[in-house]
Symmetry: C2
Subunit: 144 residues, 2 copies
């Protein structure tokens, strides 16, 4: 898909960390919980509409990001969801949760208090760990 463009809502809400094999990897700007969003390059809006091999690659990348949340970012539970009622571009939330986070046990959507953001240093550190662990191709300027 040569003319891929990220939905404006996702662009506004997230840092663009880079590319995995199948998906663009975003990080929600609200750092109250560690919240990744994976965006495959596709025009379809439902997971079930993805061609079978891409569907599997997307699932594997979601699993890898969830594993990263547990092993590297202290998540006790992960929440994985494809919703897309507001931003119809297919995207999958992979969120790290813990009993001491500010909206536990509620889901994050609509319940997350306004939180702090990530420093450029923290973003660079995260990108570097994702490059090592998940073979991320890092996007320059993720802090923008």
């Amino acid at each position: 898909m040569s003319n891929f463009e990220l939905h404006s809502r996702l662009r506004d809400d997230c840092h663009q960390l880079g590319r995995l094999s199948a998906c663009h990897l975003l990080l929600h700007r609200n750092s109250a919980v560690p919240w990744f969003i994976l965006v495959p390059e596709t025009d379809v809006i439902e997971l079930f509409e993805l061609e079978s091999s891409l569907r599997q690659r997307v699932s594997r990348e979601c699993d890898a990001v969830a594993r990263f949340l547990r092993s590297e970012m202290g998540a006790r539970k992960t929440n994985v969801a494809a919703i897309g009622n507001l931003a119809p571009q297919l995207h999958i939330h992979v969120v790290g949760r813990s009993p001491d986070d500010p909206c536990w046990p509620a889901p994050v959507w609509g319940n997350l208090p306004h939180g702090g953001g990530y420093s450029n240093e923290r973003l660079a550190q995260l990108q570097s760990r994702l490059v090592s662990s998940l073979d991320l191709r890092a996007e320059p300027g993720a802090g923008e």
Copy 2:
């Protein structure tokens, strides 16, 4: 897994429609939106912890249920999520959404108004269509 037991919260909230190949298929009792829940027989609590072939079967069954929501139940969008903050037994929500449903565009969790329920006749009709379309092995007495 011979000693499978459904978490009490899922049992209280849902009708047990029957078994697909990998998952038990539940239907949320609140009929305000069509809301299925798939429960694989496993002790792990995260999708990424499932053994690879079971992970794929679970995804395929979620996709099939989402397709059913669109083709047979009028859903314009599906929301697919593994959350599990309250009921730690691994379960995947597959929810049919439409712009005229009572909590659109918000996610259903925590936002769905108390709705009506399903009649036994409607449950039997749904089961029958799921048997035909998804090869469901129907559970008797789903109305309980």
